[in-house]
Amino acid sequence: MEDLKIELKGKIIEVLNLEDITVEDIQDNDPLFGDGLGLDSIDALELIVLMDKDYGIKLSDPKEGRSIFQSIETMATYIAANRTK
């Protein structure tokens, strides 16, 4: 699980081009949207594509995304339980 979290942080930094942010800067329970990393709705779409492409998880219900994308912790937990690749 720890490895998955680190991998996820790295992918988010790369995909969302988070300049000046390192894996160490992102805490597992930091909110991804709003006050935490400050991601927005376009980033949410990027994360949905990332989940599908890298872990084989299709999110069809937008309401589902709200809880999954709360933090690295919630994302990693969901991916670990549902990944198909």
Binding site: L16, L18, I42
Partner: protein, 339 residues
Amino acid sequence: MKVYINGLGSVSCQEGTRNFKSSDLTRVSQGINQAQQPSYKELIPAGMLRRMAKGVKMGIYASHSALEEANIAVPDAVITGTGLGCLIDSEKFLSTMLENNESYLTPTSFIQSTHNTVGGQIALKLQCMGYNFTYVNQNTSFESALLDGLLQVQAGELNNALIGGVDEIGDITMRFLQLTKKINTVDEIFPKGVNYGEGATFIVLDNKQTTQSYAELVDTAICNRVESVEDFIQSFLSSQYIVPEQIDVLVLGSNQTANDGAFYAQAQAICSSSALETFKEFSGEYHTASAFGLLNACEMLKYQQLFSTGESKPIEYILVYNQFDGKDHSLTLLKKCGD
């Protein structure tokens, strides 16, 4: 109504882009020459910066400099020209389509890949709700924007306008152009190959002359193909009641390739008494490189000095002539501002 150029801004292959003497500038010597990137952090919030294409960043920086010089907070219009738009994101989006079999398409590169992104982002940043238009006309993209702004200010529809040309280097496209020998490589200089560059150049047109004014923009003309460069120039100048002997400096967009020679030789023959200046050895070739030439011409007029030598000289009129590969000819006539 007369139209003046009251502000200039640029990001180019040169480090202090606005250095005036060519001796201070670096000649582009490679096939592909990236623009020197200034620090954008002071100008653009980090949250926006991470998603911006290179062309957008260069455009925002250059437009900010031009507006600051012209002392204008929000222009009446933002008019841009670009040959290939935000090419890096276009390539990224298309590559992702191919790699992922048209699945997993992400929004950011698609949003950035449209040609009017630069003009749109500048207007958003300035909260400019006025006329906003982007011209994509290959090597006359900048002149198309310039002509639009000139006509609207002349007609009194605008008091001022921010006009710019932006193009960026995309690796995949450049590799294709090197394969077709249109761009030189590290190992080879092709007979028709050019040294490619990128950059953003913005100017502010205004209906009022100020102490900051660089030049009066008299006219600009575009012609996709010309039968005779001589006729094109003669007809353009005579429409302004000017004879070639009045042109003090002729600025040519020459790449000094096998394709260039005949066209620019004709221009030189007509304006045989004019001092000759070139600029693409400092900017590299790209679809809106002529804007960099116009910037040099503006500085020559303001400071009454030749670009290449720094020699002081009375300069009343400057003619900028550009073309590429025998197509997309453009002429821009500038005049010294009145006292």
